[in-house]
């Protein structure tokens, strides 16, 4: 299964980059989100995955009695997801505001700054 996940992550990265390379601002943001998902899954997979054993110590004991999933990548991803959320929501609003001010979703049109070199 790890191979499939690896391919899936590769696809997420590729899709993210491809969308960032488009001219639409909305696609750009979607691309960033997809790329972020890819990065999160990457951390997850490289921390090695385990099925059906969440890192929660059983109610009746003080330590794990059996195998458990690595909690560190999970904590890292949690942090990363939340941070991405902050950035994404900001980005989405940026799209809105940019559209209102610059009147376009086309990134190629957002070059006025270069005219006054």
């Amino acid at each position: 299964m790890e191979v499939i996940l690896a391919i899936l992550i590769g696809v997420l990265y590729a899709a993210g980059i491809y969308m960032i390379l488009r001219r639409s601002l909305v696609k750009l943001i979607l691309g960033i989100i997809i790329l972020g998902n890819g990065a999160n899954l990457l951390i997850f997979l490289l921390g090695r995955v385990v099925k059906g054993s969440p890192p929660i110590i059983p109610a009746d004991s003080d330590v794990f009695q059996s195998v458990y999933a690595d909690p560190v990548p999970q904590a890292l991803i949690l942090t990363a997801i939340v941070i991405s959320f902050g950035l994404q929501s900001f980005a989405i609003i940026l799209v809105k505001r940019a559209y209102k001010v610059v009147k376009t979703d086309d990134l190629d049109e957002m070059n006025a700054i270069d005219k006054d070199s």
Binding site: K51, G52, S53, P54, I56
Partner: protein, 90 residues
Amino acid sequence: MTLHEFIFYIVIPILSISMLLILWRFLKGPSIVDRIIALDLIITIGIGFIAGYSILTNRPSFLDVAMILALIAFLGTVAFSYYIQKRNKK
């Protein structure tokens, strides 16, 4: 056949197939409403899958995820309807 095998070989595959069927509807559309229905349903199936998976792995803590899914999926649908209503307001 043990319960584990039963869930693994019968219940979860049925759910997985359902998931793929819904995905088909999502892709086909044709209208945005159909996609929203599909999205709503696929999440609902997720709740079912998690219930099945928690039986499969004997880990009740997954049920908490199901709870969150139930709570939040609803909001998504509300938002989409809100959007469609606003969009069609002239």
